[in-house]
């Protein structure tokens, strides 16, 4: 028994080494879910990102109807891949509000002309303040907000075709 016990510190050390080496070889990089899910939308009022479209304020979210709040940018490549899915959702009558992070009107206009415009309103988040207030850590991200203005769900990354039914049902539950 005692002979075995003598090897215990070395065994622990080797175990530690394996965990340590594992962390070095494959550094952890994880998606950070927002802690704002389940909480009311933080109060904000963003100026219009384009002259012909209204801006986005948190006040309009509590109008009894569920909304999608899409955090995106014209310079974000995965945002292009989710554009057809957002169009599909908009055609189904889902109100989609855009938060354009660090964007310029001319780039945004070109992006919408090329990829379609599913947005009812787009607010310009020039210094990422609203993105940070939402607990969003990358682009694109989409928040499902219920009729009382409470964040029900966060979709991290592009909305792929297979994600659309889940988002539709989450919107249905968020009434």
């Amino acid at each position: 028994m005692k002979k075995l016990l003598i090897w215990l510190p070395l065994g622990l050390f080797v175990l530690f080494l394996i965990v340590f080496a594992g962390g070095l070889i494959q550094p952890e990089s994880k998606t950070i879910p927002s802690k704002m899910v389940g909480k009311p939308m933080p109060a904000f009022a963003l100026a219009p990102a384009l002259p012909n479209k209204p801006g986005v304020g948190s006040a309009v979210l509590a109008n009894g109807q569920p909304h999608l709040v899409n955090v995106f940018a014209s310079w974000c490549l995965p945002c292009i891949t989710e554009a057809p899915q957002l169009d599909q959702l908009a055609q189904a009558g889902v109100p989609i509000l855009g938060i354009a992070v660090r964007d310029r009107p001319e780039d945004l206009l070109r992006f919408l002309q090329r990829n379609g415009d599913p947005y009812r309103a787009i607010g310009s988040d020039g210094n990422s303040n609203v993105q940070i207030a939402l607990g969003s850590s990358g682009l694109p991200e989409t928040f499902i907000v219920d009729g009382k203005g409470i964040i029900r769900k966060q979709h991290i990354g592009a909305i792929n075709p297979e994600d659309v039914p889940g988002i539709m049902s989450a919107l249905g539950e968020a009434k």
């Binding site: 802690k35 607990g135 990358g138």
Partner: protein, 136 residues
């Protein structure tokens, strides 16, 4: 030949950066005029984790979002907000993960207690050995 050409062209091509064309926010790379406020902001920025370059603090990171977070912290410190209040605000959004200063709570207490326990255990073993040696 074709592969060589492709490799050369790839090497020459500009990498696609996931960055906007907008200039950095005021206070992203600019210090606060008040020195004590800047020191307070800097101390906080060094203990807030960058969400893009995970493993770096926002003080060290070149990511645009880190710049915007630095600007947010400096603006709030300038407005008189306490650093710990800003840390709490960020933790409310991103969880404890965003802070390099782990809180002392039900989950993390062993982190603080174990070193003390190990030290006590080591002292106990050493004192036992010394006593035995003196007897012998």
């Amino acid at each position: 030949m074709r592969t060589a050409l492709a490799v050369i062209l790839l090497a020459l091509s500009a990498p696609v950066l996931a960055d906007s064309l907008m200039p950095a926010a005021k206070y992203a790379n600019e210090q606060l005029p008040d020195r004590t406020q800047e020191a307070r902001a800097k101390a906080l920025m060094e203990t807030i984790r960058c969400l893009v370059c995970q493993g770096q603090s926002i003080a060290d990171s070149d990511a645009e979002m880190a710049g915007d977070m630095r600007a947010l912290i400096r603006t709030r410190i300038e407005a008189g907000e306490k650093p710990e209040a800003i840390r709490r605000w960020l933790i409310e959004r991103y969880g404890d993960w965003v802070s390099y200063k782990p809180p002392f709570d039900g989950l993390t207490w062993p982190l603080y207690a174990l070193p003390v326990l190990f030290l006590a255990f080591g002292l106990w073993i050493v004192s036992g050995r010394l006593k035995r040696r003196r007897k012998g």
